[in-house]
Amino acid sequence: MVATALFGLAAAAVGAIAPPRARVRLSVALTLAACACGFAVAADVLAKGGAAAVHTNQLLPLLGLSLRLDRLGALFVAVSAGVGLCAIVFRLGYKGHGLSSRTGSCVLPLFVTTLLLVPAASAVGTFMFLWELMAVTSLVLVLADHRARDEVNRAGQWYAVMTQFGAAVLLLALVLLAQRAGSQSFAVIAAHGPHLAPWVRSTAFVLAVVGFASKAGAVPLHVWLPRAHPEAPGPVSALMSTAMVNLGIYGIIRVGDTLLGGGPAWWWLLVMGVGGLSALFGALHSSTSTDLKRLLAYSTTDNVGLILLGVGASGLFAATGHRPLALVALVASLLHLVFHAVFKGSLFLSASSLQQATGLRNLDQLGGLIKRLPLSAPVFIVAGLAICALPPLCGFVSEWLLLQSLLHGLPSGDTAIEVAMPLGVAVLALTGGLTAATFVKAIGIGLLGQARSDDAARASEVPATMWGGAGLLALLCVVFGVAPGLVLPAVVDAARSGLGYGTAHPIAQGWSVGLTGVRGMLAPGLLALGLVVAVLLVAGVRQLAQRGAVRRTEAWGCGREVQTARMQYTATSFAEPLTRVFDDVLDPTHDLDVSHSAESRYYVESAAFHTTTHDAFETRGYRPLATTLAWWGRQARRVPNGSVHRYLAFGLAALVVVLVLVG
């Protein structure tokens, strides 16, 4: 762990001082070493149990630095390290976006290092220090391209405000716990946590959920996410959308399950509610987004929602005394978290490849990329199918487990569970369908068909490090989908360490995934084999049944003489029915500009159609809030009007108030 930190700091130092030519390679090599060390430590902890601990009083003034990696933290470190390795390899080929500048090369390693160290923090001071370092470094990286585009600045502002709000709330929660428990060490807080006064526990938990949910991008604190993630440079957006949002989930599990030792049912119904709302809202917005990276960012909100749904279900089961189910639900949501990091990392990286190859992010201008990017495009497709939870890819296994854990809660006899679980299943089903529509759109419009713009037509394949970095994660999608037994034991151990109880092998025997305590069995390997056989059979039957040669002709365009690529289905038109059905939530505005010919109004010179959807939370919640705050700010400015007399009066008044209060 010390090696991780040292390599990370060395990488940052090299990035800051090395000459430009050596800068990128040296800092990348050192960051890779940091990730490898982090992964090794995490794997060791997960395999052997126990914990790796470091404590020093010197590094941070007054607080000291204490790190202790248990199995729950180790799972998150391993995920961050894995995604970090691929993202850093990807970064070698990634051009522009200010990442190669001195600032970029210095801050990126720092960001990766904090992602690796946050789950190891074992005291409030250390945790908040690393948490804030992570927030600040990611903010700097989001702003890497601030000179080129104005949106970057606005995204940075949103992100800065939301992340600082979250950190402040979090600080309140943790300080409250530390003060009541009498120590800032997590171990002491965990020992006292279950015995604190209920109002302290509840206040701390709710504040912590608010703080961590803002980092995880859960509704209604998600507004920064669809702005900041798309504007961040490719590798950074992949890290933010996987490793960093994961840490928000980590925080909720750490505070709720480990430090407070579980709590009443309404805590977890709150978490489930936030999760369900995030899942639906994210899925809905990602299905109607036309900006590829914005689509992925909303899909992160969607998946974070599903993970929170599992975490909430787990807490609810624990609160009502269904311990085996609590473990299964937590395993399912942690497994989904791991797999989400794998496929979303791959999606964000390959989306950045597409962006670098074409210079475009708007799906309505892409198309036909599978012919021009024969390596990056299939990587995107594999990861896209994984996120749709299609077998034999990894998303299927985790969503199946999640569904099983929710369904098996039904005959429990507890009213809260019997109301919450069917709703959870409905959310899972609806988001599943919307996600499928989203990625049919992203793949069908973005990669298939014909190029809708000159830039898309001129695209050429990106460097090997880029498709390689994304491809490695896509490969993992397949491997984990066929053999989830490779990661399940580690996830089960992490979940047990989080909950503090549970049998050693509730899940996973060889090639199949079974659950003890509840019925349900899945053999992803056999499923994959069956799928391959079925595909071969269908292809064979088709081959045999085909009569005569295949004749290829132009697509039928009602006999039009000239057919252009612009006449294809677009992402906007694909999403139009959904936009229409959900117009209460999406709040779409349509703009049709028609200019008529000067001679006659019967002839149309040109027509332009714009449609945009709005984030209801932003337009109805944050905008009015910001307007009100700005109004108060303007009013407050009248008070200090430059008059010395008035300032003297203020001073006197303040003195009187202080004297009255103290006296």
Binding site: R551, T553, E554, W556, C558, G559, R560
Partner: protein, 165 residues
């Protein structure tokens, strides 16, 4: 003289009496198509520049009075789903390419039926500045139905030969 006969005489008033010869390969192609279609004939209609007289007659073919669908004959919206084309009118310059493209879009083997005198030899529009030629100049024609416009009975009789029902 019954009421129906009078109606038929009125209907035939504007019709050219001379009947042109059927295309050379017609017999073979028609029996082949009838065998292939097995009582179901899906046609895409192309108006290549007609005065809409033939369209009126085609429309009445599918009206309750004549009900061509009894014989398995249907008009289809997409050439991709069609067994052939039903073409009317002299082929104008603007419709020459769309006609060829539509023919291309029909799965082969396809039948082409030209309806009316204009489709056969451009009729009264022959030599007009906007006319590119007859249907047979653009795509291979299997069946020609004479008349200006042809009666629904004639159209249905010709199509019945193709549908085999």
């Amino acid at each position: 003289m019954g009421k129906g006969t009078i109606r038929q005489i009125v209907r035939r008033l504007g019709q050219r009496p001379d009947h042109l010869d059927a295309p050379a390969n017609a017999e073979g192609a028609v029996s082949e198509a009838a065998r292939r279609n097995r009582g179901s004939l899906q046609l895409r209609h192309v108006d290549a520049g007609s005065c809409n007289g033939c369209e009126l007659e085609i429309a009445s073919c599918f009206s309750p009075t004549y009900d061509a669908e009894r014989f398995g004959i249907r008009l289809e919206a997409s050439p991709r789903h069609a067994d052939g084309l039903l073409v009317t009118g002299p082929v104008t310059h603007n419709m020459a390419d769309p006609l060829r493209k539509t023919y291309e879009a029909v799965p082969k083997p396809a039948v082409v039926v030209s309806v009316g005198d204009c489709a056969r030899d451009c009729g009264v529009f022959r030599g007009a500045y906007g006319v590119a030629g007859s249907v047979a100049d653009m795509v291979p024609v299997d069946v020609e139905i004479p008349g200006c416009p042809p009666e629904p009975e004639a159209i249905i009789a010709a199509l019945q030969n193709l549908s085999g029902r």
